[in-house]
Symmetry: C2
Subunit: 184 residues, 2 copies
DNA sequence: ACCCGAGTTCAAGAAAAAATGAACAAATAA
DNA sequence: TTATTTGTTCATTTTTTCTTGAACTCGGGT
């Protein structure tokens, strides 16, 4: 591809020229971008994702057009490693996609902006695996009530707890699709 | 005085749950208890709560009767500080309650076992606050699109993003009550 | 072939979160 | 009152998680 050093060519890069930066926290980010990042960094926290992932998604969200790897790294001031891993993870969850498969140049990234897909991807990649994992554990639990309980009364209570736990799982699973549906 | 703080302190303290220990990984915990802990520690992780909270709730869940502070500390081998904070937080979320206000002795704790209440408490204490917090941020975002955008086309796109973000929040808020309802 | 730039991987350092323990407060008993 | 037992708070230590940077791979381009 072309002039290696800089890939900023095809994209209108919002610059800090005219408007005065209010909070020069991160060089080269507009106030709009900074606020957007803050929103998504907070969101990342809530869902247990690293800050840098929130920043990457936030920057894409605050950009009118696709950005490539270099853009992201440069503007956020992150290491290549972080950007690489962040993009990989975000793509795995379906939060970020490649723009225009063709195009010749480097890969460009855009944010997925459909809430339903975003949440869907997250549920699928993060919640379901957990449910599946603990399902195995739960199966084993049933057999352990007996040896553990001191008497029949206690035994009954504990068995009830195990049953309830299994019910929770079923309910949890059942709710996920509804959440996605309600967000559509 | 003996500092009862640490794990290796052997105690003759019988708890509501007597029982033979099959896997003495954690001294004095039955296999059933250990498995149950594992389940809730995993759950705590998913929800972004410290492991110790999961252990505390798990132990209560695996116990047929109420436990007091000392029971919990001793059997889990946690420090007093951890138990204190854990119980406080779990109570704040409504995951743990005091059993029988009367009774004379120390406070006894029981787990909340209604899924709806558990989830409800969590949503109320953890998700809502976040939504409220970012609402303020979002309000500000609208005013920053103009100064940030390079041209009218871009401006329009970014404005669309901001609008969408606000819509997400509304949808998010709207879904929460449904989740609780679906779990009832 | 070689070189150069783009991106990935992973060990190691930095940062953040959680657990500890000791000082403290509250409540009870002697 | 003083001594004891119970629980809380918070600074410090420990553990976990995140980020970095350097070595490495992959793919043109010359």
């Amino acid at each position: 591809m072309r002039s290696a050093a800089n890939a900023t060519a095809p994209h209108p890069r919002p610059s800090v020229l005219g408007g005065a930066a209010h909070r020069p926290a991160r060089a080269g980010l507009t106030a709009f971008e900074q606020e957007t990042l803050a929103v998504f960094v907070g969101l990342a926290r809530v869902v247990g994702l690293p800050k840098s992932y929130g920043e990457i998604y936030g920057l894409l969200y605050a950009s009118a057009g696709p950005l490539n790897f270099g853009d992201i790294q440069e503007r956020l001031g992150l290491s290549k490693g972080s950007v690489s891993q962040g993009l990989k993870a975000l793509r795995a969850v379906g939060a970020v996609r490649l723009a225009e498969p063709a195009g010749g140049d480097r890969d460009h990234f855009v944010p997925e902006t459909e809430l339903r897909k975003l949440v869907g991807g997250f549920l699928k990649e993060s919640i379901r695996p957990h449910l599946d994992g603990s399902d195995r554990r739960l199966a084993a639990l049933g057999g352990l009530v007996g040896p553990s309980a001191a008497g029949p009364a206690e035994r009954k209570i504990l068995q009830g707890r195990v049953d309830k736990l299994m019910r929770w799982h079923r309910q949890g699973r059942a709710v996920l699709p509804w959440i996605e549906k309600l967000l559509g």
